[in-house]
Symmetry: C2
Amino acid sequence: MRRKTKQIMIGSVAIGSDAPIAVQSMTNTDTRDVDATVNQIHLLEEAGCDLVRVAVVDREAGLALSKIKAQIKIPLVADIHFDYRLALLAIEQGVDKLRINPGNIGSRDRVKAIVTEAKNSRIPIRVGANAGSLAGWALEKYGHTPKALVESALEQIRILEDLDFDEIVVSLKSSSIPFTIEAYKMIAQEVDYPLHVGITEAGTPWFGSIKSAAGIGALLVSGIGDTIRVSLTGDPVEEIKVGWAILKSLELRSRGPVFISCPTCGRTKIDLERIATEVEKRLSHLTKPLKIAVMGCEVNGPGEARDADLGIAGGSGVGLIFRKGKIIRKVREEELVDALVNEALELEQRL
Amino acid sequence: MRRKTKQIMIGSVAIGSDAPIAVQSMTNTDTRDVDATVNQIHLLEEAGCDLVRVAVVDREAGLALSKIKAQIKIPLVADIHFDYRLALLAIEQGVDKLRINPGNIGSRDRVKAIVTEAKNSRIPIRVGANAGSLAGWALEKYGHTPKALVESALEQIRILEDLDFDEIVVSLKSSSIPFTIEAYKMIAQEVDYPLHVGITEAGTPWFGSIKSAAGIGALLVSGIGDTIRVSLTGDPVEEIKVGWAILKSLELRSRGPVFISCPTCGRTKIDLERIATEVEKRLSHLTKPLKIAVMGCEVNGPGEARDADLGIAGGSGVGLIFRKGKIIRKVREEELVDALVNEALELEQRL
C-alpha cells in the first residue's frame, strides 16, 4: 500500500498522494550554456523525464533559467546551495521548484525573503539531508546513523514550517541502501510530505542501475516514494531509462512495451539472447503498454507467457507466434523477429 | 530481520537460517557436452557462483553428471522434469541436490523410490511452482493468483512430507514482481523451509538486471530469500555478477571492491564517467572487500565519501586521493586513475 501524503504541484506535475510516481533527473551540462542544457533536457523529455533539475552556481546560471524554461515542456527545478540571492533570482526567473536547505543560507530574514517569494509564486521547496554532510549537532547527538539523517532533515522542515510554509518535498540521501531505507521509514512516520527517493553516488551505469533498482525498488514496494531519482555517474538520459525500468518492473507505471524472456537452458535450440535483444531494440520506440514475450521453448513458452499480449517461442528451425497464450501461427526461425515486430506494430496501431 | 528457516546442506554449502545467501545459476550448455558444461561452470565459479544447476533431459545427460561433478568445485544440482528414472540416475551419479516436482512424476511408488535414494545419499530436493504452469485444481479454485501459486507449491511439499522427507528448498516463480512478492510473503508464513528466490523470464541483460534487482532486492530487504537466482536471457556468468551486485548493494555479503561515485552535475570539471568506469574495470579482479569512491568535487567529495577505504575527488586539472575522509595527497588529473589503482592494490595486500 502506497503511503498517503500531502500532494504538491511542481508546475503542472503533481507529486505525492495518488499522483503517478514521477521520474526525474538532473542535467550535467553547464547551466550557463543554455543551448547545451536545453538539448540535454529535450533528450530527457523524450526518454520520459517528468521534471528536471539544474545546478545554479552563480548569477549567470540564474539568468539562464528563464531562457531554458521557455524552450522545454517539463517543470524546471533550481538546485541552489548557500546563496539566498540565487534562490530569489531563480524564483524571479520562473522556475517551478527550488532545491535548497534553508538552514544553510544564514539569517531568518533571508529565509523569510525566499519563503515569501515562493508563496507568492506558488513554488514548492525540496529540503533534505545527505548522510555525507549531516548537521553537526545531529552527528554529535546521534552518531552517523539514520536517526541523525532524519533529524537533520526535520531541522530544515521546521524552519519552513515556522514560517508557515508547507509546500515541501523531502529527501534523505545516502550511498548505503540499509541506511537509506531505515531513514525513509523513520521520516515517513514523522511527516506527511511527499518523499523524493534515491540512492546517492550509486556508481557506474552497470552497478549503479542494479543498486538503484534494489534500493528504490525496496522502498517503493514498502509504499514509500513519490518521485524517484536514479543517480548514475554518466549520461542523465540513462538515469531516466533506469527509473522507468524500475517503475515498469514493479507495475507502478507503464510506458511502452514490457519484455519478458526466459533464461536460456540446455533445452534452448535457438539464439534467444540475440532474438530478445533485437526485439527489444526494434520496439523500444513504442509508447503504448504491450507485454511481449520471447521464449525459448515451444512446449512451455505459450503457457508460461499466457498473459503476454504477444510472444514468440522458438523450437528447432521453426518458431511459434502467440497471443495471450494462443498460438496464431508458425514461422521459420529466420522470420521470427520480423513477424513478431510486424504483429506488435499492428497491435500498437489498434490500441 | 532475516526470516528464520530450517538449514539444509547442498554438498558443502549451507542454505537457510544464518548461512550466507547463496548465489546460483544454471548452465545453458548441452549437459551431454561435458567439456562445454565444465568450462562454463569454471567461469561461473570464478565469478562467485555458490552452486550450479544443469538440465538433465535424457539418460546421456544423466550419465554426464558424474564426469561434470569430478571437474568442478561447487555443488551440482540436477534439474529434472517428469522422468523419475533420470532422478534416480542423477542421485546415483552423485549430484548434490535435485530440482524436481514430485507431483509430476506419476505414482507414489516412483516418488517413494526417489525419496528413499535422496535420504540415503543425504540429497535435498527443491520443489516449487511457476505462475505459468499452475496446478489445474489450484487455478480453478483460486484463479491466476499468488494464492494459487502458493497452494501449487504446498501440494509438492506435502507429497514429500508425507514420505517423511523434509530436506526441502522451495521456489515460487513468476515474471511479475508484485505477484512474486505476495506469494513469497504468503508461503513464508506457511513453512520454514529455505526459499530460493528469483524473478523468472526477467528479460534481456539490461532490463532483466534492473527487474531482478528490484524484485529480489525487495524480497531480501523484507527478510525473505536464502538463495537467489537472477534469470537473464544470455550468459549465466552475467547472472552471477548481477546476483553479487544485488547482495553487495544491500550489504548482505561482500566480495571484492564496492564502488561509489557521484552523479556528475554542472559543477563537475573532470570526465568522471570515464574515470569511474576505468577504476571499476582495473580493480574488478580483487576479491577482498574495499569501498572505493570516485567523486567529482574536491570540496564535498572527501566528506561525502568519508567511509570509503580509498577515494579520489577531481577538481580542475588536479585531484585528491583520500582515505577514510582524510586527504593523503594531490595528483595531476591524468595520474589520478593510476594513483588510485596503485593505492588500492597496496591496500589489498595489507588486508
